[in-house]
């Protein structure tokens, strides 16, 4: 209250009304009260100017949040609408905490993967993979997938490829629409690091891997 000079009884009333006067939601009667007061009160005119500056600031667009994509969000919303009725409770966030969260992450990662496809990053990678398979081993029988994996949207194809190479893994399918890659031991290797348990542990410890599960586990 140290900014409120003593004065007429209406002064505080006007001071409080200024916020709604500035944002245009004051009633006509409230506007008249303020309009009558302002010409005679330096403090309220200064406060009015301050609130206008603040309002201008808050009305301006803030820097967009990186990656907040309405198209991807809408796609996810539409997918959520198709969940069984029991799955769409009044508290979706709480529901997700208890198990749906992983599916959400899958969907987001999937959408991000699709975006990456469109920008060419993964497309190039997959084209290379396709070429390699065609040239070196025509129509090979796809190795049986042992692990399902979802990379974080921020993970580049190169980073993912490095991780898989280090662990002796290869992509045998995917990404699915939900962004899931199916992995199998590279080249049928069964040496060091190729057992699923240690590969899973290593993948889960890798920053940028959202999700890694043995095949057969429902994501």
């Amino acid at each position: 209250m140290n900014r409120l000079p003593p004065g007429a009884a209406s002064h505080q009333q006007v001071w409080e009304l200024l916020a709604w006067y500035v944002n245009g939601t004051a009633t006509p009667e409230q506007r008249r009260i303020v309009d009558r007061h302002l010409p005679h009160c330096d403090a309220c005119r200064a406060e009015c100017a301050a609130q206008r500056q603040l309002a201008d600031h808050l009305r301006r667009d803030r820097a967009p949040v990186a990656g907040s994509d309405p198209a991807a969000g809408l796609a996810r919303l539409m997918a959520d609408l198709d969940r069984p009725a029991g799955d769409t409770a009044d508290a979706p966030a709480a529901r997700r905490r208890h198990g749906i969260d992983r599916r959400w992450r899958l969907a987001v990662a999937g959408l991000a993967a699709l975006v990456l496809f469109e920008t060419g990053t993964l497309t190039t990678w997959h084209a290379r993979r396709a070429d390699y398979q065609t040239l070196s081993a025509p129509a090979p029988a796809a190795p049986r997938a042992t692990i399902r994996l979802v990379p974080a949207p921020a993970m580049s194809a190169g980073e993912l490829q490095d991780v898989l190479h280090r662990l002796g893994l290869q992509v045998v399918a995917g990404p699915t629409e939900a962004g899931v890659y199916s992995l199998a031991p590279a080249g049928g290797r069964h040496g060091k690091g190729s057992d699923s348990a240690s590969q899973l542990a290593a993948l889960r410890a890798t920053p940028g891997i959202l999700f890694a599960e043995p095949v057969g586990t429902d994501p």
């Binding site: 916020a19 406060e47 100017a49 603040l54 809408l74 609408l81 966030a93």
Partner: protein, 196 residues
């Protein structure tokens, strides 16, 4: 159809086809196209509002998704007592609070810490918005929301009470405290005031 439609006041008995009230009526009839239109029209404003609480994109996306799931489920309960924008913002506000509570997040933990000393005034116009943001970051989340809803979104005192689920007097008090605190933090706000 314009991307952003200004909602009509509740006294309008027949909303225009592209109003948010009309969209809610269609959503109540399970019209997904209407939901998509409303989502696209509201997304940017919700991001702006929520980004005052967190800059984490996945949190913002999750709260917006939750908001529209509730809109989808509850659109039939909208009776037009308030503007559609007020009704939707109230849902978003509650979804955001619930998320913060469930995840035990401190609102705006990534914003300016208390110990930063603010200058009396911005050095120039370029720094003005940064200066104001730092001042706003010192407010409580409730005080900041009140200013954001009033100035950023043009909601009335009564609408903010409805959105935040509080009494009108509570909103008045939050607005009062927010303005007093900012006046002390940013004594040259408005460019005309004398330092107290």
């Amino acid at each position: 159809m314009p991307l952003f439609t200004r909602s009509t006041p509740p006294q309008s008995t027949i909303p225009p086809d592209d109003s948010e009230e009309a969209l809610l009526a269609r959503i109540a009839g399970a019209d997904r196209g209407a939901l998509a239109t409303l989502y696209q029209a509201r997304h940017r404003r919700l991001v702006r509002f929520l980004s005052r609480h967190t800059r984490r994109q996945h949190v913002i996306d999750e709260v917006i998704n939750d908001t529209f799931l509730v809109v989808w489920q509850k659109a039939g309960e909208f009776r037009g007592q308030s503007r559609a924008s007020t009704w939707i913002m109230g849902i978003a506000y509650r979804c955001m609070l619930k998320h913060l509570r469930d995840h035990k997040e401190m609102p705006c933990a990534d914003q300016a810490p208390e110990e930063i000393v603010l200058s009396d005034s911005p050095a120039d116009l370029v720094e003005l918005h940064d200066w104001l943001d730092k001042g706003l970051a010192r407010l409580s989340p409730e005080q900041r929301d009140t200013l954001e809803l009033a100035y950023g979104f043009g909601h009335s005192l009564e609408e903010i009470a409805e959105i935040t689920g509080t009494a009108v007097n509570t909103v008045k008090s939050r607005m009062f405290q927010a303005r007093i605190k900012l006046a002390n933090l940013l004594p040259n706000l408005g460019g005309e005031r004398k330092t107290p």
